[in-house]
Structures are given as structure tokens and as C-alpha cells.
């Protein structure tokens, strides 16, 4: 039995690097320090994997050799006039790098999952810039954390524990023990409430109630006294909202208005309405007091802002609020990146092409115009004639119209496990899992690079996705050279 420590977790953008993995006979037997998602990844990775590459023949996926699958894929990609290469966020930077080289060679469009995640955030940041820092700075210094349109308890389960309110920083204490006490009090209160409700039900006929809990008209006074505060703003109550010091439930698609209202109040202007986006103006005034009164605040925003009405304009308004706040105190803003290396995919793409996502190489040089060169738009317009998907599952996560277009053309998938996209694919490559069976580099959500470890040998001697991509690239170059020779010889 071997214990490997300081393992980086290849699941979400928090990229926790303190995992301890116990390995026995090349099988992971125990995972320490990971969240539920991390544990599932390390313990369940071998459950749904094909043993060999697959090619679709007569409607069924059948096993073939790696050489045959590489040859078939290279032929499809070399002969395509407008192929798309999509995914890249659930694998290491090294694989992305080879993917960009391949996209350039075949004149395709290379896009990563940020296009359906924080793509609008990237667009806003390019427009107006942003003030940010590392998660280490936040851990040690932040006394106010604002999660907006984000549910870290479910999507980044250890984010609060490692980087914000439940961590022991150099200059800020953890709120963990205080939270446990309040949780205990809350449970007692709920028990009493349930007992009262039961008693009422016995004595009275139960009347249907449709009452919506009213928003409080002011923020709790205790919020102003706490050393380390956490506020959640979202369209529905989540687990994260339960543990926050204050939860503001806003109406869907109204984030832009609320950001602008906060900016107005920050300038000491008056709002001529009673509420904005479902939040009473008095509460917004209190919120501005809390924001201005902190010593080091941070606004973490999730895809609740990028996926609803306003999209990039919501982020722009959020960044502008933070910029305004920096006239009074120190305030930072950071997107809650989802996939563990979506930040790395943006960074590698920027190094090699100049642009972070949605890069069109069809003219022989990189072009960037999200809305035109982004994959969902290309698919919705039915323009692509082949697709290579690496470490992603667009059939499960793209809108139906885009998926219908994606599965009409030849589809090649490189992924450690079978998923919805593999089921619809024409060529499937199982590969080693980066961060479990292969080494690599990934970028945390604050753009800090961390090494991914190899904790077990790849089962069935699977190659890494970067090695499979290299072989496809080599074969594509061979085909193109041969075609050029045939043309040259008439």
C-alpha cells in the first residue's frame, strides 16, 4: 500500500492540492481531504470505460486498434472544410497545446468550455479590466466574501473551507466554530417550529398557503459586527445560502439592475423606487454600508450571471461596482471557474493564438469573434462538417439545436470514460485520466498553475489524450503531404 500526499484534485476550479490518496495494487482504495466530487472521481473512474478504441460500423460501436482509430480520425479531420475542436477544460494544459497545433494544421475552430461557462466574463474583462488577486490573499486578508449567482457548497464544495470564511488565515480567523454553533441553534429552532406546526395541523384544517417569505427590510445587525462576513445573492435558496450570514433572494434576470442600483447608492444618489429586482431599497442601502465598511472584500460570481439575461453586461456591471468600491476600500472580483482547468485552457489558447477561446483558424491565422466563431453559434448555423471533442460532453450540455447539428457530421471523441457524446460518436478514444493516471499542469481559478500527479498506472495501458492528439496530428500531416504531392505531380 502506498500513500501519495499533496495530490491535486482534477475536478473543479478550486483545484485543492492537499489530497491524500491510498493506492493498493494500482487501485485507489481511499481518498482523504477530498469533497464528494473528488472522492467519486478517484474511486469511480474505472467503472464506465471501453477497453479499446471504438469505430462506428453499421450503426454500432465496435472495437478497433489504436492505429485504425487514429487513421480514421485523421482522414475525417484532414478532409473536413470547417471542423470544430472543442472541450479542453477537463484535461491538462499540455493536451490543449497540441490541440491548438492540430486546429492550425486543419484550419479548424478551437473552442473550450468557457464558451458555455464564463465566456461572457472573459468578454467583460477584456472590455473593462478587473481588480483581482490570488486565493491565498483572500484566505489571509478578506473580511467580506460575497458569492453572487454562485453556489460554492455544491459546485466548489471546499472553496469556503480552503479559501474564504471557514479557513484560518494569517490575519483573519475561521468562522467554522461559530457556524457550527449557529447550525445547532438553527436545528433546535426548526424542531420547535415543526412541533408547533404539527400542533396547529391537529387543531385546524390545513389551509393551502402560497405565501412567499417576505424579504427582510434590513440586513441583520450582527452582520455589521462580525469579523469575517459572508453574503450570498442568488435567485433561489441554496446550501451556500444556508451557511451565509445573509442571503438575498433576487428575481431571475435582474442582476444588472441590482448592480447598477448599488452603484447609484454608493454615489449617495437616491433611488425613486421601493425595490430593485425583488430586493427592498433599504436592504440595498444596508448592503452598500457593509461593502464600503469592509477592509478587504471579494466578489465571487458564478454562471448565475453569465447564463441569464444580460450575460456579459451583468459582469461588466459587477466589475464596475467593484471598481467604484475601490475608491472607498479594497475590493476584488473573481469568477468561480467550473472545470478544473478551464482557466488553463484560456491561458494556453491565449499564449498560442492570442485569444482565450472561440478561435477560428480557417483563414490560416487566428480570428476571434465570439457569437460568430463560438461553437454553439457555428453548430446552430449548421456550418461545421466534423468535430473533435476532447474531455468534454457537449451532447449532454449544449442546447438541442446545437447537438442536432453536432451529431449530423462525423464526430470524434477523446475521453477517459463513455458519456452521452461518446454514445453518439463515430470514433471513440479511451485515454488515461489527467491527474489520476497521467501527469500534467492545470490552472486554478485565480490563474495559479499547479502540477497534476499520476497516482496510478493507466488501466489497459491507455495513452494520455495529448499522446493520442500527437498521433492524429502526425497522421494528418502525412495525409496532407501526400495530397500535396499528388497535386504537385498533376
Amino acid at each position: 500500500m502506498t500513500i501519495i500526499s499533496n495530490v491535486t484534485c482534477p475536478v473543479c476550479g478550486s483545484l485543492c492540492d492537499d489530497l491524500e490518496i491510498e493506492v493498493k495494487n494500482n487501485v485507489v482504495t481511499k481518498v482523504k481531504n477530498a469533497c464528494g466530487m473528488g472522492e467519486s472521481k478517484f474511486l469511480g473512474y474505472s467503472a464506465h470505460r471501453p477497453s479499446k478504441p471504438l469505430i462506428r460500423k453499421n450503426g454500432e460501436l465496435v472495437e478497433v486498434t489504436l492505429a485504425d482509430a487514429v487513421k480514421k480520425s485523421a482522414e475525417v479531420l484532414a478532409n473536413a472544410s470547417y471542423p470544430i475542436l472543442y472541450g479542453w477544460s477537463n484535461t491538462c494544459c499540455e493536451a490543449s497545446s497540441v490541440g491548438i497545433e492540430l486546429a492550425e494544421e486543419i484550419g479548424g475552430v478551437i473552442d473550450n468550455t468557457s464558451t458555455v461557462c464564463h465566456g461572457p466574463s472573459v468578454l467583460s474583462i477584456q472590455d473593462v479590466g478587473y481588480s483581482t488577486c490570488t486565493l491565498g490573499q483572500i484566505r489571509h486578508r478578506a473580511d467580506l466574501t460575497l458569492y453572487w449567482g454562485s453556489n460554492p457548497w455544491s459546485a466548489h464544495p471546499r472553496h469556503i473551507e480552503r479559501y474564504t470564511n471557514f479557513t484560518e488565515g494569517r490575519f483573519r480567523h475561521s468562522e467554522w466554530h461559530r457556524y457550527l454553533s449557529s447550525l445547532s441553534a438553527y436545528r433546535s429552532k426548526k424542531r420547535v417550529e415543526r412541533a408547533c406546526k404539527l400542533a396547529e395541523e391537529i387543531h385546524e384544517a390545513t389551509a393551502e398557503t402560497t405565501a412567499v417569505p417576505e424579504q427582510p427590510r434590513q440586513l441583520p445587525h450582527s452582520l455589521f459586527e462580525k469579523e469575517r462576513k459572508m453574503i450570498v445573492v442568488d435567485v433561489r435558496r441554496t446550501r451556500s445560502a444556508d451557511i451565509a450570514d445573509c442571503f438575498l433572494q433576487v428575481e431571475p434576470n435582474k442582476d444588472y439592475e441590482i448592480f447598477q442600483a448599488l452603484r447609484t447608492l454608493l454615489r449617495d444618489d437616491e433611488l425613486q423606487v421601493d425595490s430593485v429586482g425583488g430586493v427592498p431599497v433599504e436592504v440595498l442601502e444596508d448592503l452598500v454600508d457593509v461593502l464600503v465598511g469592509c477592509e478587504f472584500g471579494v466578489l465571487f460570481f458564478g454562471v448565475g450571471l453569465t447564463m441569464s439575461e444580460g450575460k456579459l453586461r451583468n459582469i461588466e456591471a459587477g466589475i464596475s461596482l467593484v471598481r467604484d468600491l475601490n475608491q472607498y476600500t479594497k475590493f476584488m472580483i473573481m469568477p468561480m471557474r467550473g472545470h478544473y482547468n478551464v482557466t488553463g485552457a484560456n491561458i494556453v489558447s491565449t499564449w498560442q493564438t492570442g485569444y482565450p477561446f472561440a478561435v477560428d483558424m480557417s483563414r490560416g491565422y487566428p480570428r476571434y469573434n465570439p457569437g460568430e466563431s463560438s461553437v454553439v453559434d457555428i453548430l446552430s448555423r449548421g456550418e461545421s462538417d466534423a468535430a473533435l471533442i476532447v474531455a468534454s460532453d457537449p451532447v449532454a450540455h449544449f442546447p438541442k439545436k446545437a447537438v442536432q447539428s453536432l451529431v449530423e457530421s462525423p464526430l470524434i471523441v477523446i475521453d477517459p470514460e463513455m458519456n452521452a457524446t461518446s454514445l453518439m460518436a463515430d470514433v471513440v478514444f479511451p485515454c488515461a485520466i489527467a491527474g489520476v493516471e497521467a501527469e500534467g499542469t492545470a490552472y486554478r481559478m485565480d490563474r495559479v498553475p499547479l502540477p497534476l500527479k499520476k497516482v496510478v498506472k493507466p488501466s489497459r495501458a491507455f495513452l494520455s489524450d495529448q499522446e493520442i492528439l500527437r498521433r492524429i496530428l502526425r497522421e494528418v500531416r502525412r495525409i496532407k503531404k501526400k495530397t500535396a504531392e499528388v497535386v504537385a505531380n498533376g
Binding site: 473543479c12 471501453p50 450503426g59 417569505p213 454553439v376 450540455h397 442546447p399 438541442k400 446545437a402
Partner: protein
Amino acid sequence: MPSLSVTLLTGRTLRQGQGKEYGKLSDRYWKSVAICEIDPNDLTKLGIKDGKAVRITTVHGSVAVRAVKSIRGSHPGRVFVPYGPWASVIVDPETHGTGMPSFKGIQASVEPAGDEERTLTLQELLHAHYGKPRGSQ
């Protein structure tokens, strides 16, 4: 049959995250994403109980999923479906020139599913919406 006009939200849940990491073809994944969290009062209005199938319809598509009583707070008129193939067939593909479709805040209607309807498995869903009969490993 009762029908409710609602705002559809999609998003991440911890169970969905665990299910996807455990395996997209697993029963665990199916159970975690082919669901719709509905406010308890809205369930009463629809006349159905927790665990029964509901049909969610938007202008972009329609899908049957299992209704789950929402345990956090009251949010009448807002339903939540975790990210996954079931949510994807009803979301808005319009990107408004940004590359990002609209996955949240979509107008939808919810009604109890017909007697013969049930929540499709992943393979059945792919076959029903994307046509090609595809074999799995």
C-alpha cells in the same frame, strides 16, 4: 390537466457533480440529473406528489423528468433542473452574440406527465431527440 407557468433555472448540484464523476452512464448520474426541483406549494397545485413525473415545456423543447420537492425555502414559480442531457433539450440556444446560450431564467410550463410517460434513460433520450439508433458499450 393543471399546468403552471414557471421560470426555469438550470445549474449544478453536489449530487450531479458526484454522479458525473462516478460515470455518465451510471444510474447514480441519471437519478441526480433527470429531476426537477419544485416548490411544495406548486406541487400541490399540480396535484402530484414528490417522485412523480412532470413534463416541462419551453418553446425550445419538452422533456419528462421526476419531480422532487424543493427543501430550501419557498420559491413559487421557479423550478430547477440540474445540468445534463434532460435540461439541455429545453434550454434556449440563443447566444445574443456572446457564444453563451441562455441556461437560466427561461419561461416554461410544468404539468403532470401523462399516465404512459416516464423519465427516459440516457440512451432512450438520445434516441428520441437526436434520432440515430446508437449502440453503447
